[in-house]
Amino acid sequence: TIGMVVIHKQGRIAAGTSTNGIKFKIPGRVGDSPIPGAGAYADDTAGAAAATGNGDILMRFLPSYQAVQYMRRGEEPERACQKVILRIRSYVPDFFGAVVCANKTGHYGAACNRLPTFTQFSFMVYNSLKNQPTEEKVNCI
């Protein structure tokens, strides 16, 4: 799955997702990716976020919408992502998931739920301070 957030230099924000889902799904199953607020969410007045992982769990918590709302209230992007992860984990401790978050000023962050087989999450960043796409990693919490 790819979840992407783009902020134009003039402040207009867009978000999107594309996926082929999980292997061996029951035909007809749709995950979180195409659901606004679950797979991704964008609002010029606050920021944007995108989630990835087990969509059957993620979609029940609207993590991208929740992250944007946290940023609207002033949370830094990384903290907003972390709070989303912690909220889901309080219900589903061993869920597989990660979130990337960016606020309207271009600050960004990410968070993931630590599992024995998932301890770091890699994501890509390109902004005016970089001269090429840059892979960054965050330790899962």
Partner: protein, 182 residues
Amino acid sequence: SGLLPLVLNTWPFRNATEAAWRTLLSGASALDAVEKGCTMCEMEQCDGTVGFGGSPDETGETTLDAMIMDGTSLDVGAVGDLRHIKNAIGVARRVMDYTSHTFLVGESATKFAESMGFLPEDLSTAVSRAIHADWLAQNCQPNYWKNVVPDASKYCGPYKPPDLFKAQKSSSGNPVYKLGHD
């Protein structure tokens, strides 16, 4: 902000990031950048979890989900369970641009895509067919059924609900998460 513009995406899909950035530099919109970036991943079959030829379902078919959102208007276009069309994010963009709806699914989404000029194609590949064949050979393990007969943890379907339903406490997490991601 001096930090703008920004492209941020999940997983280390470098060429998708690059494609979105180049689109921005060309003077296009943030929406265009998201569409181009995700399209790049669909073409490259990023990680096997994006685009055609990956994540076959129980019948061996690859289906696609995609969504695009405009943070200015909060307009959204999305497709789910899209069949036979490779450029799912492109179809999602057409849903946003040319309909008042938000989310189209299944074969009807395919028909919509065809009406928008997308060509129907087989989304399976030799790789996805091999993945599916291996799964069948392993008695359809793992799968996502529960509380059915025959025992889905041991046998392939078709499955039915048992006469006397005995609810089992479901696992809080999914043991097969390593098989892919949304």
